[in-house]
Symmetry: C2
Subunit: 428 residues, 2 copies
């Protein structure tokens, strides 16, 4: 993109910012936005990114994307996750955080930002909506476009969220591999294996573990969803029955697993041999529970950030949707839309066909989409055929990054800072 | 392979067995053995596998590999790990476990096993050696060939162990991806990330985390090796310094991290807010230590079995060496060798060139190769240029398995049982 250009009629600058936890494909959305903006140089002048997301916008620390090499921009399809930096920084409602929203409008005004592309989940959509509203109140027009992104897959309306397909693929593949490992040695070694996965409120990621099974009875034998109240006795009985029938038991547990009173297992704590409370994740809590009840040898894994950043095993479908979401968001902005978000629309599951529409942000902001009951088996421990039909296309296809010296190659942004125009500062 | 055949002069049957934890590429070694045996039908009649490793041999539960489809056999290059089953079942010395060794010879005699290919690590090599010795004592000749396999990379003489390159690649790639994730959000979120990896005695797997760095100062910022005594104060100071300089700190910790008294951190326990001892892995122990000392927000991951079974990100070099080791082992047996093991010999590091030689098993049995001091930086927290020169070629190249429905495709063995010839039984 040219570094300087005349400001034509109706031409304004654009700001892109990432928000919250990264995904394996978040930069593909950035690439989509960038390419859409480049197609409309008559409407969009400079394209900036907030360094560390909204924090960069608040502190007037903007990256000039136009000063990056074309090759670096193209490499956004690959690692690293979160090239421009992101932030876990929630803006509350307009009353409580009005000063922050006003500061954003102040920075936007100083840099003639007419388009704001905010790439995040539920909270970010809420911020984009409020910003758009406050801009109108203050007489400053800025098109606020949400670009969907969340590994949790909990945004409503859209068929799925960019970022989810890749974490789902990681979890399905890892569950399969670990299951084959356990199966091969169960006769003389580990009987129970537990994989703890993300998803504190919605069980989409745990559900994806079910894709490791090719037929009924294949591992994972137990999936624990936040949507289904955890019942210790039923769970322990199922584990025992599985070990007795199959020789081993593989469990995929959401970090959000909770009991009928809504208490998270991860907060519950178990007691060790000395009667001391043990705090920690869901996996060690379950392992300890099984050990005490049945004495089985166990192993457990906690994938944590490895699952959401696993670009090496990204879903090709997910990568395409992430790019498509960014691209569509850019086009929506140029088309004069405001407070909207692109959504994935499923046309058919087999073969998987989809396109991109859009929705008013207020329909998605601060709303969460849980795993519907008909995707979960009657016993609450697995996914149904309907659940599989929904999930399976999302992990379809591989999209390997290039490698150098055995690890994924990635380009590093220059991250050139846009000259400050304000004399005021903002402290985070 | 034909199901029945005339027994020619000098033609005897062969038995292949896997031992201990699987690796991502263990079946490639099986494929190598099978293909070598097929090339010598004049010497090797039937080829069997022990179901669940040595347990199958002891209980006379043998799989007739000749009854598997050719396509299934070719698919052994891909998942699953441990196609024939494996066992964690150690035979002690000849005095204490003589009955077991004699039972093995009894089964071998019943099935005219003249070649025993044992695919495992240090313990397994010891078993192969003793079996060969006892056979001679009892007047029963069986060529016992060790096929090297261990993710721990701790067998001496051989340049590296098949299985290690793939776990090393998994750890290097995962460390890179998680580091980029943490870096992108450190300003407002997680400051410290800890990845706990396998390797209770030797720090090879932890060392591989160092390959995620492209240049000095890149993450991981701290590696903890079993070879270096853990010093709490020095560790905490390094973490603080790193967070202050870089904004975040990434740590790769071996499960075998121990202090100067040899006490494992994982056995040490920390105390929670209520003064209760917390047991668990190294990662939560370190996280808790850092939280108490510095208050940083942390995350940690425990890859456990995911790392050793990760066929989806196997090293191509490792896959070739695993296959090559199996193939060479088969050839050594046919050539009349006994109590030997193929070894990888490094010819050059850049470009990486290697071939396969062999060594007497007694030179490798029950010996462990630790990470040498000159591979570890003076401060004990990283790998040196020499360490990198050794490690980097081993993770070279990718070897993706085929996929179906978004997950790795794999063939399932028929596992047809060889007719029993003994009336005696053996209880495990």
């Amino acid at each position: 993109m040219a570094r300087t250009r005349k400001k034509g009629p109706g031409r304004r600058n654009a700001l892109y910012a990432q928000s919250g936890g990264v995904t394996a494909v978040i930069n593909a959305s950035a690439l989509g936005v960038i390419e859409a903006c480049r197609r409309h140089r008559d409407r969009i002048g400079h394209l900036y990114a907030g360094r560390d997301g909204i924090v960069g916008a608040l502190t007037e620390d903007l990256i000039d994307i136009g000063r990056e090499d074309a090759a670096t921009i193209r490499a956004l399809r690959h690692p690293p996750p979160g090239a421009f930096g992101s932030a876990r920084y929630k803006l509350k409602d307009l009353e409580r955080d009005r000063a922050k929203y006003e500061r954003l409008i102040e920075v936007f005004r100083a840099h003639d930002i007419g388009y704001f592309f905010y790439n995040g989940g539920n909270d970010s959509m809420d911020t984009a909506l409020k910003l758009s509203q406050l801009g109108e109140q203050l007489g400053y027009h800025v098109a606020c476009i949400g670009i969907p992104k969340t590994v949790d897959n909990d945004l409503p309306v859209t068929d799925c969220c960019p970022g989810f397909g890749s974490v789902a693929k990681y979890v399905a593949v890892s569950t399969l591999e670990a299951s084959l490992d356990v199966a091969s040695m169960a006769r003389t070694s580990t009987r129970v294996f537990i994989l703890e996965v993300m998803g504190r409120h919605a069980g989409w990621i745990a559900a994806a573990g079910g894709l490791a099974a090719r037929k009924a009875g294949d591992p994972p034998h137990v999936i624990l969803f936040p949507e289904i109240a955890f019942d210790r006795e039923r769970f322990l009985a199922r584990v025992k029955e599985t070990v007795e029938q199959k020789g081993y038991c593989v469990i995929v547990a959401s970090e959000g697993t909770r009991d009928a009173q809504g208490q998270f297992l991860s907060d519950m704590g178990t007691r060790d041999a000395f009667g001391h409370v043990q705090l920690g994740g869901v996996a060690p809590t379950l392992a300890s529970m099984i050990k005490q009840a049945h004495g089985y040898k166990y192993h457990w894994a906690l994938a944590d950030y490895l699952q959401r950043s696993a670009r090496h095993i990204a879903s090709r479908v997910d990568l395409e949707q992430a790019y498509g979401g960014g691209r569509a968001g850019g086009e929506l902005g140029v088309a004069g839309k405001n407070a909207v978000m692109p959504v994935i629309r499923r046309k058919s599951s087999k073969p998987y066909r989809w396109d991109i529409g859009s929705v008013a942000i207020e329909q998605v902001a601060n709303r969460e989409k849980m795993v519907p009951r008909n995707f979960i088996t009657a016993d609450g421990f697995g996914i149904t055929a309907a659940g599989r039909r929904y999930l399976e296309p999302l992990i379809g296809g591989e999209a390997y990054p290039p490698y150098r010296n055995g690890i994924p190659a990635y380009a590093t942004l220059k991250g050139a800072r846009v000259r400050r125009r304000l004399t005021t500062t903002f402290v985070i």
